[in-house]
Point group: C2
Chain length 293, copies 2
């Protein structure tokens, strides 16, 4: 199977698994389930669940990992819904479609985000064929990656508070490590934990996850400058407009490109111990750096 | 120890435990931790954690149950913060103080709610001296009680959508069971599960939790009609103003009072098997019905 066939297959598995976990749009109260599904099935790239599943395949037995993977996509999607709200980034466009609150209103968008966040932990508590000790480790990993101490919410707060401040390397580092880095790192780690990885494997995969996560954010910042909105599927140029602290703002575009290449290189290197088994993880790192949206 | 001394003692334990779990207001990013603490330590009655701890004491060994209890208070507090937002109930006053978004702004209030919701599950994943199987059961209990299928969020959606509709007994039943009932029921059940209750004990305590939860909601609706804002610590009369579906709206005040008494009576009856051991649970049911705020 070539990489694009593999990706299509993994994405299909993620979509089917999400569809099983989220109550149908006809289950009462219908509006909230419609709102949750609207954003979950809006054509996201599924990078977090795909990373999770690919990491688990390298580390060991991966039965049922698609469920663990979906908990990550739920957290990611909730964060996008809340981020787009008028009180935060006030964005109308996401993945080429109207944002959740534009369609369902602010109240329902807030509740849909809350519901996806809650469901992510319900999924982990209901995993089948996974022993309780692993479920607890997975929940701990996800909650700390999503939280306020170096996790996703910490990144959002740094990001909000950084607007208009002088863009320093230090502040940038703090934002990206938390805002996107923590969840991408957790994606890889949760796949490894689900599969029962040994400590050395978990460490190598964690390094891979950190470098891939950083590459992801650098490329994200570059695309916001370089690509038009139609290509991105979201409002382009908003970072500069909102005075966000980004890689291009701190280092300039040329150096940002070189930094992304450096991170790609280190991500590949971290996979050394796994040899050919890690082919999909290599390909995913390349995808993340080479993407155009 | 008389009941008011007991309550003061339990409340102190909850406060101290919450204080240990939530990063200090000087931990970066400071704003979010300040916002979380502002609402957590705003003088709430701690009914959910107190119920949880009292139920565990009846059911068996309860070491560390104050941590489980605090996860419930975090979920409750997040729901209040989000409920008060301009996009939802748009309330300025809560527990006698300005609401979270009035002090910290809408963005931080949304994130503070998200953070408390996330932290609740982190707490359960990090319980000490509790085996992994119990932690998973607790997380499952909490996530489903807080979710969209008969849980708290379902109740909020029914509540929002019910505004302006004809107040029927059926709709009222659906709202209260989910909106406050599910989490109060879970409070009692999680205490019992934490303590390793047997099935028959868990069933009796669940019935107690359901009747107490219903009594709580009926009294809440009555107080909104009968008490001035200063006494309530929140804006009184909002239910009627927003055409909410409440017990007084459906049944009238007199019948609502009688219904609360009926629920109190059934709550007491459910505790029969526990005899004198359940004294605190009896007292809590009375407190819930007899409270004036």
């Amino acid at each position: 199977m070539n990489f694009s066939e593999y990706l299509a297959e993994q994405t299909r598995i993620v979509d089917e698994t999400l569809d099983r976990w989220v109550p149908s749009a006809s289950a009462p109260p219908q509006t909230i389930h419609k709102a949750m599904r609207y954003s979950l099935f809006a054509g996201g790239k599924r990078i977090r669940p795909v990373l999770c599943m690919a990491a688990s395949a390298v580390a060991g037995a991966a039965a049922g990992v698609e469920n663990t993977a979906c908990s990550l996509e739920m957290i990611h999607t909730y964060s996008l819904i809340h981020d787009d709200l008028p009180a935060l980034d006030n964005d109308d466009l996401r993945r080429g479609r109207a944002t959740n609150h534009k369609v369902f209103g602010g109240a329902m968008a807030i509740l849909a985000g809350d519901a996806l966040l809650t469901l992510a932990f319900e999924v982990l508590s209901r995993l089948e064929c996974v022993d309780a000790g692993k479920k607890v480790k997975l929940a701990h990993e996800l909650s700390s990656a999503a939280g306020t101490v170096g996790g996703m919410i910490a990144g959002q707060v740094h990001d909000l508070e950084g607007e208009g401040q002088i863009p320093t390397a230090d502040l940038l580092d703090r934002i990206h490590r938390a805002k996107t880095g923590a969840l991408l790192r957790a994606s890889v780690r949760m796949g490894a934990i689900h599969a029962g990885a040994e400590e050395a494997q978990l460490e190598a995969l964690t390094r891979y996850g950190e470098h891939t996560g950083l590459a992801f954010q650098i490329v994200d910042d570059i695309l916001d400058v370089e690509q038009p909105s139609e290509q991105l599927g979201k409002t382009a140029g908003k970072d500069a407009q909102q005075n966000k602290i980004t890689f291009p703002a701190v280092y300039g575009l040329d150096r940002s490109y070189r930094m992304a290449e450096q991170e790609r290189c280190e991500a590949h290197a971290a996979l050394g111990p796994f040899g050919e088994r890690a082919r999909r993880l290599h390909e995913i790192a390349d995808l993340i750096v080479d993407r155009k949206a």
